[in-house]
Amino acid sequence: MIQWLGTTFDLPQHVVVATLAVWAVLVVATGIVLVLSARGSGDYRELIDRTASWWWMIGAFTFAIAANQIVAIVFLAIISYLALKEYLSLIPTRRIDRGLLLFAYLAVPIQYLWAGIDWYNMFLVFVPVWMFLLFPALMALRGETQNFLRAVGTLSWGLMLTVFCLSHLAMLLVSGEVHNPVAGGVGLLFFVVVLAQFNDVAQYVWGKLFGRHKVTPHVSPKKTWEGLIGGVLTTVAVATFVGPYLTPMDHAWSALAGGVIGVAGFLGDINISAVKRDLGVKDAGGLIPGHGGILDRVDSLTYAAPAFFHFFRYFFTP
């Protein structure tokens, strides 16, 4: 059946197996949540919402990678667009910049186009160099100096995080193809996305069970050293196990990659937490029931995606 699935959807067999494994974990987790909420007296509303949203997210991700590469890139671009939109809705913006903001959205399809055609040099400089230079210039030409620095800073930073950083997922998918005989670019994409998400859950569970000492009490009071270390070690263990199956890395390199994803994921998470705290909001949005907004879900990937991409590119691309 796995062979049939692989040829029908043109997916490497190892990715088919890994996808089935993720679905199996989801089924088991849903069963546990249902049993807990049926027996327990506490409020399981959020946990149920969260689990229901995982079905949607994993369903959409499976569909995107199973359809074909273009669908997967469009799917990732839509995530970037939604994250940028959520970010721009959260921050203070100036009315005079309305037109420029519409223009900034254009950076999403363009950046994903560079990834889609595997133009690495343009992919690397488009947002950090060209968009970074263009938008302040356009804002200056408009002539409004009130809050100029804040407008330039927030827009550049938001574009970097939601467009440039997240687009590394698409670049990994496209450019990784030739460097991963085991499971192709899609195997690398799968590896970083699933591990970053798994790392979030693992840190949460370890923190809930054993959390005592806070890492950043002012930014994210629920983050504890116990959660961080336990979560990262769990991610390292899983990475060691699945790395050789999905990537050209051996056990040791996979463990190191797991550590990179775990720590980067944590940093991306507290980064968005700091933004939300600064703005005085609890969730970045209401798009995903139980999780908050899309930024609340992809926060760890904003760091984990570029960190893993460049880690892999440096050590495993000739």
Binding site: S89, R94, L102, Y105, V281, G285
Partner: protein, 218 residues
């Protein structure tokens, strides 16, 4: 023909644009009326307000949804008038010069008798983006004269950023629709019932507005 056009416009164009272009956060969707007669009374910052509100209701209710809109603005020009009347399905309201003896709200009373759901903007015209304007008391008059008709306060946020008055450039922003608990004109039976109703409505709108933390323009 226009019926089909109406369903296509709201079922496909509006829903698609709002889903991808805006993205709505809806608080207490279950408080929206499921049958007429009823009034949805919202704040008004953008042409998107009406469309977004209508997209929140099931398509089967579409024939019953009637936005109340300014006659002088929406009936000017052939195309705009046809679009407003036939596709959007507005009930035009004279707001400037009301002839003596003519009740401007008579058309709305008739709509109640047909079991329709009115979408009203008590602020009248679209106000300054994201600022609650002064409410006109016509909604209070309607509520008091129909004590059993629920008036659902709705606070809308973000639409004035996405498409403010005076601009035709739609910039994607996340928008919020907060639905409050329904008020009934029948709850206010004092001599000043209309004013009491308006005070209660304003208080409910202010409470919904206060719950929003997302910033306005700098």
């Amino acid at each position: 023909m226009t019926r089909i056009l109406r369903f296509l416009f709201f079922g496909v164009v509006v829903r698609g644009a709002i889903l991808l272009g805006l993205g709505l956060t809806v608080r207490h969707r279950e408080r929206l009326p499921t049958k007429g007669p009823a009034i949805i009374a919202a704040n008004h910052n953008s042409h998107l307000d009406t469309l977004a509100l209508m997209s929140l209701m099931p398509l089967s209710l579409l024939p019953k949804l009637r936005p109340v809109a300014a006659a002088d603005y929406f009936l000017s020009g052939k195309v705009r008038s046809w679009f407003a009347r036939d596709v959007v399905g507005i009930i035009p309201l004279e707001r400037a010069k009301v002839r003596k003896g003519a009740d401007p709200l008579a058309a709305l009373e008739e709509a109640f008798d047909r079991g329709e759901i009115l979408i009203l903007f008590p602020e009248g015209s679209r106000g300054e983006p994201e600022a609650l304007g002064r409410f006109k008391t016509g909604v209070g008059q309607l509520a008091v004269s129909r004590p059993g008709v629920p008036v659902v306060p709705v606070y809308m946020h973000g639409f004035g950023k996405a498409l403010p008055r005076g601009s035709s450039l739609l910039v994607p922003f996340n928008c919020t629709v907060s639905v409050g608990e329904a008020l009934f004109g029948g709850e206010f039976d004092g001599a000043q019932s209309r004013r009491e109703f308006m005070t209660a409505y304003e208080a409910r709108m202010a409470a919904l507005a206060a719950a929003e933390t997302v910033p306005d323009w700098d």
